[in-house]
């Protein structure tokens, strides 16, 4: 099986879907000749032409709104937001419009679009090239929010997102783009949106995570294994819909739960997962549910010292796990 980086898996999914379905097209800033600033769309303009790989003006509200319009008319647009931090001008179109188009027309129209965006930090991106934005969208009924951690998941989930009949926000961690590699089978496959996966089995505690933090969590689990603790790691893969069953099954087994994510702590996905655990596994808990998350400040300061202070690293997750296990 070929080994790909996460961004190569994204690119492969885009190319295969464009090949398979002529209604699929890509639009965004610098996605054409430049191939996107991270090169996710590299080569697509040569293969599919400027009509299906559209370099847009610098205007996110229109990128989202025009993608939405084309989607309602029967196309399957993939709109790229160059950095998740720059999605805010498009907020009205995504949250206000796309998310409620189907509901508000009693199924009369629907919006099969994907909004792809690189998110997250630990790349010296400063306050405006580092943010995790998932909680804003996970809060919004009508949207799906997918965050793959591995190349295999990225390819299968992106294909599923493109074929999905509702709007999907697809977030790709920019530090994971080239640092994370993994086996990806050639050819077509999809993965179901809304299914979490146990990425490591364990008996003493569960960590629920996703995105880049999933990898830090796996490192922390390895560290704890050397200390004699067996940690199970659940990768949510999509934070809306959120696979409560897989989370609960794990916590009912291990009786302890930590949620780890890079997004700000307050009102983050961790708060929702914690509530799900309290509702569904309260009687199984041997310790309070804990969180290890980004600090409650805008993500994330530029200086390396401040950036490190923000990040939930493998060390911080390991420390949180020790606290959880010692409770």
């Amino acid at each position: 099986m070929p080994t790909l980086t996460l961004i190569e898996a994204v690119r492969e999914a885009l190319r295969e879907e464009m090949e398979r379905d002529p209604s699929v097209f890509v639009m965004g800033e610098d996605v054409g000749r430049r191939g996107g600033v991270f090169l996710a769309t590299q080569g697509l303009v040569d293969e599919f032409g400027e009509e299906r790989v559209i370099d847009t003006p610098l205007a996110e509200s229109s990128i989202a709104g025009i993608a939405m319009g084309a989607a309602m008319a029967g196309m399957r647009p993939i709109a790229e937001m160059q950095f998740a931090d720059f999605i805010w001008p498009a907020m009205n179109q995504i949250v206000g419009e796309a998310a409620r188009a189907r509901y508000g027309t009693y199924g009369g129209v629907h919006v099969p679009m994907v909004v792809r965006s690189p998110y997250g930090g630990h790349v010296r991106g400063g306050l405006f090239h580092s943010q995790s934005v998932e909680a804003y969208f996970a809060h919004t009924p009508g949207l799906k929010v997918v965050i793959p951690a591995t190349p295999y998941d990225a390819k299968g989930l992106l294909k599923a997102a493109i074929r999905d009949d509702d709007p999907v926000i697809f977030l790709e961690h920019k530090r994971a783009y080239r640092s994370v590699r993994g086996d990806v089978p050639d050819g077509d496959y999809t993965l179901p949106i809304g299914a979490a996966e146990v990425k490591r089995e364990g008996a003493d505690a569960t960590v629920v995570s996703y995105g880049l933090t999933l990898h830090y969590t796996l490192q922390a689990a390895e560290t704890l294994a050397q200390e004699g603790a067996s940690v199970e790691v659940v990768d949510l893969r999509s934070v809306r819909p959120l696979d409560a069953e897989t989370v609960l099954r794990s916590v009912r087994k291990t009786n302890r739960a930590l949620i780890a994510h890079e997004d700000n702590r307050t009102g983050g996905v961790g708060a929702e997962v914690s509530a799900i655990i309290m509702e569904g596994a309260f009687g199984h808990l041997d310790a309070p549910v804990m969180r290890c998350a980004g600090l409650d400040i805008p993500a994330m300061p530029f200086a390396p010292t401040l950036e490190s202070a923000f990040m939930p690293t493998a060390d911080k997750i390991a420390a949180a796990l020790r606290e959880l296990l010692a409770y």
Binding site: E29, D30, G32, R33, R34, G35, V37, D55, T56, P57, L58, A59, E60, S61, S62, D85, F86, W88, P89, R124, G126, L127, F128, H129, L295, D296, I297, P301, F302, A303, P304, T305, L306, S308, A309, F310
Partner: protein, 338 residues
């Protein structure tokens, strides 16, 4: 792109002394810009966006604000090192920003270089979200009007930024309320890789001004005298209660978008070389030498002094520590500083 006439009626052209001052400022900014690029390649500066090719527009416009407004305030974007330096940011402070070191004055190294605010010295650049500062600048100008203050607000933006919906809304409001604000567009023909003709179906951003009911001109932004004169006219108008103007500077970006960019996939080397022929610094040097305003000796001195100043600033910034994280939560809200 065609150029408007560079010397509008009623604006006294810059004299030799001013031109020499501008030249000295341009030499300093260029020396600084070249050095931060090197520091990036050495792995010391995480990100650099160059102002090379834009200096005449940036410095000429600030000179016009200084001379023709009782007070002024600049909303800048990431490419505006020239504006920040003209507003008083020292080389040492700039370097602390590029190296993200303790003592960086405008964001305490929380932000990219040249981002943050220095209200005292009259500039801010809050955000990397392209175009978002434009409505804020209009609000600043609205406050000046409401408080009967003589401030002229200048907001700098790129040709790409001009596509944002916020810019339309801002220009419309500014014109409806006759606000003392200048929209200064540094049009270098590219937004990262996207060329102007994919950004808009007209040749100049300035053409839009008419639709808002404000004057709009395009000038050669690599000619400091032209940049100065066009801005001066707009400043006079704003300061005299005449309302907003749009001044578009036709400039060149002959380096990649930022140090993270590789422009070779979307720009021919010929085009880049062609752009370099419009180097504003070389043009001003040539003019001043030809006119005898600048002697070769003085030129050498200026360049040596600038290099020395950059060396010292670099040494100081390299010697400075990174900021400690003890205050990482501070200044999120008023009250106790959190």
């Amino acid at each position: 792109m065609q150029q408007a006439h560079p010397a509008p009626a009623g604006i006294e052209p810059l004299g030799p002394e001013d031109l020499l001052d501008l030249y000295a400022a341009m030499v300093r900014v260029r020396a600084l810009d070249e050095r931060v690029w090197i520091l990036n390649r050495q792995g010391k500066a995480a990100i650099v966006a160059s102002c090379q090719g834009h200096e005449a527009a940036q410095l000429g416009s600030v000179w016009a604000l200084r001379k023709h407004a009782a007070a002024h305030f600049c909303f800048t974007y990431y490419r505006d090192m020239g504006v920040c330096v003209a507003q008083g940011l020292t080389m040492r402070e700039v370097m602390l920003g590029f190296l993200a070191k303790e003592g960086e004055p405008i964001s305490r190294a929380r932000q990219f270089p040249l981002h943050g605010a220095d209200v005292g010295r009259g500039f801010m650049n809050l955000s990397n979200v392209v175009g978002s500062h434009v409505p804020e600048a209009v609000g600043w100008a609205l406050a000046a009007k409401l408080r009967r203050e003589p401030t002229v607000t200048a907001v700098y933006l790129g040709d790409g930024a001009a596509s944002q919906g916020d810019i339309h809304e801002s220009m419309n409001f500014a014109s409806v309320h006759n606000l003392p604000v200048l929209f200064l567009v540094e049009n270098n023909g590219y937004a990262i890789s996207v060329p102007l003709h994919k950004q808009m179906a007209i040749d100049r951003v300035a053409e839009r001004a008419a639709a808002y009911g404000m004057p709009g001109v395009t000038v050669d932004g690599t000619d400091v005298a032209a940049a100065y004169a066009a801005t001066a006219q707009a400043v006079q108008r704003a300061a005299g209660g005449g309302g907003p103007s749009l001044v578009e500077f036709d400039v060149e970006r002959y380096l990649p978008h930022t140090s993270d960019d590789d422009d070779s996939t979307y720009r021919s080397r010929d085009e880049v070389e062609e752009g370099k022929k419009r180097d504003p610094l070389a043009k001003l040097q040539q003019r001043l030498l030809a006119e005898g305003v600048l002697t070769p000796e003085r030129n050498d001195e200026l360049r040596k002094a600038a290099r020395r100043e950059v060396d010292e600033a670099t040494d100081a910034a390299e010697a400075a520590p990174y900021p400690g994280a003890a205050d990482v939560l501070d200044h999120l809200y008023a009250a106790d500083g959190r």
